[in-house]
């Protein structure tokens, strides 16, 4: 029934020549994968090498980046962003600062909220389970553009959110125009104002300690809420799948044995969710560094560059300021950040002894491919 393995290789001469059913597989194998190989090669691998070249060249944007006029400048573009002490470095530092605070707020919030919602809608005796799951997941399927537009309306200075705040007796900020960092605001309540001397020294990337410790700006807080709103549903589904795999029996056994509800959750359920928790944290860490669409629509870093992120800065530097070398360099620094975070996460994951097969987290990741396309907000 089967021809020997060698026949598959020789089978390249045509499907009718060999009599085994494995004949012709070599040819068809390459034929079937050819479209994928060509497109990924031309629009993914080749672009990366071209951009690597641009990041070490002085290409001005005119003509092709691979002509004899374009010179090799070594690490100059990387230096201007990382060490030269100029405006480029300061802007890059600001974008890193903004994105760090964004990560620090979004990742724990979206993870906790997603876990909480998943536990709630996983209850067997819940009526309207389908309705609640749909309600929590729906924001995840809509486009970042539409949601951002709706948030522009909700958080307008006389918008819905500020009217609710006013009804509760407060005064809402002008969300999108407020560049004050939330920790600076809190410090102001305690009389610590603009740049105390102890923190005024330059720390890193041309920003002072005071600037690094600003926290997200009020405008950035809106983006944090927006992203948590759109990603929590997706991650809820991941947790829900894991909870359903665990089943209710183990929790029930713990409860019958007299463990309290908190102990059951933190002592039994949560440890069993650890692989999923790591997946969600990894996806969160990677995704939060990719936020682009929302920043673009909200005015590209306004106010005062406090919503600027490295992903948008790379775009802006190249396409608006036409400084292609710097822009490409920022892209690769961002890529390096994401790779380092992923590797770190892998190492931690391995240390904890979670020997999940590669396929499983990968399959989850793919199921949620939409987060990546959703403006990278995930």
């Amino acid at each position: 029934m089967f021809t020997p393995p060698g026949a598959a290789r020789r089978g390249g001469t045509g499907p009718h020549r060999g009599n085994g059913i494995r004949s012709g597989e070599g040819r068809y194998g390459w034929l079937f994968t050819a479209p994928a190989i060509i497109i990924i090669g031309l629009f993914l691998v080749l672009p990366i090498f071209l951009a690597l070249w641009v990041s070490v060249s002085d290409w001005s944007g005119l003509g092709s980046p691979v002509n004899s006029q374009v010179g090799f400048v070594g690490a100059k573009n990387y230096q201007s962003v990382l060490t030269d002490g100029g405006l480029a470095e300061q802007t890059f530092g600001t974008s890193i600062r903004n994105n760090l605070w964004f990560v620090v707020f979004v990742v724990p919030l979206q993870t906790a909220l997603a876990l909480f919602l998943a536990v709630q809608v996983n209850r067997r005796l819940l009526r309207g389970r389908g309705f609640f799951r749909t309600a929590f997941y729906f924001p995840s399927v809509t486009s970042a553009v539409a949601i951002t537009g709706i948030f522009l309306f909700l958080f307008a200075s006389s918008g819905a959110v500020n009217q609710i705040i006013a009804a509760l007796g407060g005064t809402g900020p002008t969300w999108f125009a407020d560049s004050r960092g939330v920790f600076h605001i809190v410090a102001g309540w305690f009389g610590v104002d603009n740049n105390p001397r102890a923190l005024s020294g330059t720390a890193l990337l041309e920003l002072s300690w005071w600037d690094w410790l600003s926290g997200p700006s009020v405008a950035m807080c809106v983006i944090i809420i927006l992203v948590v709103f759109t990603t929590s549903g997706t991650f809820m589904l991941l947790f829900l799948a894991a909870l359903q795999n665990i089943g209710a029996e183990i929790e029930e056994a713990a409860l019958v044995d007299g463990a309290g509800p908190f102990r059951t959750f933190f002592g039994v359920t949560l440890p069993m969710l650890r692989p999923t928790l790591f997946t969600v944290l990894t996806l969160g860490l990677i995704g939060t560094w990719q936020i682009f669409d929302q920043i673009y629509i909200l005015g590209g870093g306004k106010p005062a560059n406090t919503t600027l992120t490295p992903a948008f800065l790379a775009y802006q530097t190249s396409f608006k300021n036409l400084n292609w070398g710097d822009g490409a360099a920022i892209s690769f620094i961002l890529f390096a950040i994401i790779v380092v975070l992923t590797v770190l996460q892998r190492i931690i994951l391995r240390d904890r002894g979670n020997k999940e097969r590669l396929d499983k987290p990968m399959a989850r990741l793919l199921r949620n491919e939409n987060i990546r396309s959703n403006g990278g907000a995930l």
Binding site: F32, A36, L152, A241
Partner: protein, 308 residues
């Protein structure tokens, strides 16, 4: 909120295994029954509040799109417009080239989705079923390629499109999107889960490799194809970054890039909220329809659902 919810969780779980609430009630464990009842009410109240928070933005947007500019600005919270106005929708078709944007979105989404479903499954079939040299290398390269974030590719893709003369063309908008390594992975996972015997029978009966794939394997892979269809449709309909870097002429604007230009105020003075909200609502309808058609499938979170 959290603390009030958990007792309910517990009593639900315990009563479910031990006795039904009615049984407890009958046998006279009054306090347990009351606790169960109170917990139920509290946790439902909390879930309803959360659902309201998640749905309210969409409801407010929908009602806002039927308001007049002044009404939307002054009463953003009101769910029923004071006086109904369809001006926003009329203007979308007269003052704004929405039909053109929609047309572009439809063209790009259809071509990308059809190509992606076909070419991804074709490649996945070869990688999971056909024995050929280099298969392992191709597969591991795909996995490596998947790790590259889309945002990092914006500038590189622009450079290549420009180099190939595909910048500002439909070709440049579509071709880079028609293969998705993630989709290949999903299909490969699925093909590996179906028994090989049916295909072998077909091959022995003399069917060629492509015919076996097309008439035997693909119909069996329907669940995975649907998953891939949903992901591709949603992904390309909502795509933004790639269109920003692959086009510049207004004629190539899609709903995402076109409406984004509306939001960043390229339409003149005033906040014009109803118009913007109407645009956001209209662009959400197709993905919402797909979502509700395949809702059960998308929300199916059992482990089998992961494979599609």
């Amino acid at each position: 909120v959290n603390t009030t919810a958990l007792p309910a969780e517990v009593s639900v779980a315990t009563t479910a295994t031990l006795k039904t609430p009615q049984e407890i009630h009958r046998t006279g464990h009054r306090s347990a029954w009351q606790r169960y009842h109170l917990g139920q009410i509290l946790s439902y109240a909390m879930l309803i509040i959360f659902a309201a928070i998640y749905l309210y933005p969409f409801l407010v947007a929908l009602s806002g799109s039927f308001k007049t500019d002044a009404d939307a600005t002054a009463n953003p919270l009101q769910l029923i417009p004071r006086d109904w106005s369809f001006a926003a929708y009329t203007r979308l078709f007269s003052d704004v080239p929405l039909p053109l944007w929609a047309m572009n979105s439809i063209i790009v989404t259809l071509v990308v989705t059809v190509c992606r479903v076909f070419f991804d499954s074709l490649a996945a079939y070869a990688l999971s079923r056909l024995n050929f040299r280099g298969r392992a290398v191709i597969f591991s390269s795909l996995i490596a390629v998947m790790a590259v974030p889309n945002v990092v590719l914006l500038i590189p893709r622009f450079l290549v499109l420009k180099q190939f003369g595909m910048y500002d063309t439909y070709l440049g908008m579509i071709v880079p999107l028609i293969i998705d390594a993630g989709g290949i992975f999903i299909m490969k996972q699925f093909f590996e889960s179906i028994p090989v015997s049916v295909e072998e029978a077909a091959r022995i009966d003399g069917a060629g490799i492509f015919r076996t794939f097309w008439t035997i394997v693909l119909p069996m892979a329907r669940p995975a194809l649907v998953t891939l269809f949903i992901l591709s449709f949603q992904g390309s309909w909502n795509e933004f970054g790639h269109f920003i870097v692959s086009t510049q002429s207004p004629g190539f604007r899609t709903l995402t890039t076109g409406i984004a230009s509306l939001f960043s105020g390229q339409l003149g003075s005033g906040n014009q909220f109803p118009l913007k909200l109407a645009a956001a609502i209209l662009m959400t309808i197709p993905v919402a329809v797909i979502f509700f058609i395949f809702q059960r499938k998308i929300m199916n979170t059992t482990s089998g659902g992961e494979k599609g």
